[in-house]
């Protein structure tokens, strides 16, 4: 999505007002979903969403669109399962077609140790309300006939866990569904309006400084991704976020009907098929922090080697496009949501490689926090204060992380 689309849709674009009840920095999925739920759930519409570039230009436009809830700790599973449920009804709620498709997610194990990890994940998921079951190699082959159960002779499939709720949706349509829903209810979305500073009154954050002038706000929410450290520094807020690039690629179109989303913890890769038939895949994030969105040959080489072990037909396809996003990686691989300890400034960050699937639940929870002033129980464990309190939420459930 780009400037062309911003003029194509039947929406009214306003110049910024001098003052809003709520100013959200970052018009990606999380910022826009928060704005949308503020309007629909809490009737708060004196809201502006500021975006440095075009809408959805950050990681909301650079992910692999996978929606799932089979995470590694109870708090995460409950949170992401709620997000999966919200995604399933998002088309009905917003009236926008987000191309949501439930495909199931196959998580393969190639060693006994990985089998133990998958068993424990399946049991823990079931206990916390997400459906994940163990399957045999034969069942995996039935679900995904293209799978090579010998793993190219190197990574034999011993079994795996199957998460029937695994789904995908079209990333920019999700972003625009929330943007449209928010704008039609009177919320101002201001693309190409970078925030250059935070207005402060004593210890309190009272607004934002932009190239278009200062905008005062009752509450400022940072929904910034990879550049969150820059925004936090404007309020002397220290955050435990490292910015790492995450790369992905798509191939040319293949016969539709590939089947489920296929992932492997040991190989650290995930493959799905887009609605156009392209095979979409990714791996873990780059090891060194960087703000560079450059794709690398090392990524192409390593992800190709991994996925062709499991899905030999991919060898015959061509790489159409690669891209990178810069992810806000938290030390425990869990998100950071809620108050910052600074009056007037809230934060939603640490979305690393797991942000897209969390857009509805994250936005809904942040909207509730802004509207009521109380942190919803669903996200209470994910506050920034958990690090000082030594309650890190270490989660090994993300495919992009070791």
């Amino acid at each position: 999505m780009n400037e062309f689309v911003e003029t194509l849709l039947d929406l009214e674009w306003h110049a910024p007002k001098k003052s809003y009840d709520v100013v959200i920095i970052g018009a990606g999925g999380h910022g826009l979903a928060t704005a949308y739920y503020l309007a629909t759930r809490h009737a708060i519409t004196n809201v502006a969403v500021l975006e440095a570039d075009y809408i959805g230009s950050g990681n909301s436009g650079r992910n692999t669109t996978i929606i799932r809830a089979n995470y590694g700790i109870p708090e995460s599973v409950r949170f992401y399962q709620h997000s999966v449920d919200l995604y399933a009804t998002l088309e009905d709620e917003t009236g926008a077609k987000i191309m949501h498709a439930t495909k199931g997610l196959l998580w393969l194990a190639h060693t006994e140790m990985a089998m133990r990890a998958e068993r424990s994940r399946a049991l823990m998921n079931q206990a916390c309300g997400a459906e994940t079951v163990m399957i045999t190699p034969e069942e995996a082959k039935q679900l995904c006939p293209a799978l090579d159960l010998t793993g190219g002779g190197r990574y034999p499939v011993l079994g795996g866990s199957y998460h029937p709720g695994g789904a995908t949706a079209r990333h920019d349509r999700v972003v625009w569904a929330y943007a449209q829903g928010a704008m039609r209810r009177g919320i101002d979305i201001l693309p190409h309006t970078p925030v250059t500073g935070l207005l402060r009154d004593g210890g309190r954050v009272v607004g934002v400084q932009t190239d278009a002038g200062p905008i005062s706000a009752g509450v400022v929410l940072s929904a910034v991704g990879g550049n969150v450290t820059t925004v936090a520094a404007m309020a002397d807020l220290r955050v435990p976020i490292r910015t790492h690039p995450l790369q992905a690629l798509v191939t040319n179109a293949y016969a539709p009907g590939f089947g489920p989303i296929v992932a492997s913890s040991e190989l650290l890769c995930y493959v799905s098929q887009t609605a156009r038939g392209q095979m979409l895949m990714g791996a873990e994030f780059d090891s060194q922090p960087s703000y560079s969105r450059q794709s690398s040959y090392e990524f192409l080489q390593s992800v190709s080697a991994k996925v062709t072990h499991l899905l030999p037909f991919l060898r015959d396809l061509r790489v159409l496009r690669t891209w990178a996003g810069i992810c806000d990686i938290s030390p425990d691989y869990s998100p950071i949501m809620g108050s910052t300890g600074i009056d007037g400034l809230l934060i939603t960050t640490g979305w690393g490689t797991w942000g897209f699937k969390a857009i509805p639940a994250g936005g809904e929870a942040m909207a509730e926090l802004i509207a009521t002033g109380t942190t919803p129980p669903l996200i209470a464990a994910f506050g920034l204060g958990r690090f000082a309190a030594d309650h890190a939420m270490a989660d090994q459930g993300s495919a992009g992380t070791r």
């Binding site: 002397d236 220290r238 955050v239 976020i241 490292r242 910015t243 090891s287 060194q288 703000y291 000082a388």
Partner: protein, 78 residues
């Protein structure tokens, strides 16, 4: 591709190295042992621009290298 000049081995690809993290530094304005300790353990500068960091030449001489890198372009400065 990122290339790193190792004092022992010369210019080598970054894939031979293991990233060892930025040099920890707690800002002076954070006061109190507890607050400084929390910052040292958890918080990072995550610099957008030139940063100083440690790399371990795992597939080479197995020594540590300190270098400055521009995180915007992902290239080594010195």
């Amino acid at each position: 591709m990122l290339w790193i000049i190792c004092p022992t081995c010369g210019e080598r690809p970054a894939s031979e190295f293991r990233f060892g993290g930025e040099l920890p530094s707690v800002p002076d304005w954070i006061v109190g042992d507890e607050a400084r300790n929390v910052d040292y353990v958890w918080m990072v500068n995550n610099v957008r621009g030139v940063t100083t960091e440690r790399w371990f030449h795992a597939a080479g001489c197995r020594r540590w290298v300190t270098l400055t890198r521009d995180t915007v372009t992902d290239t080594v400065v010195a």
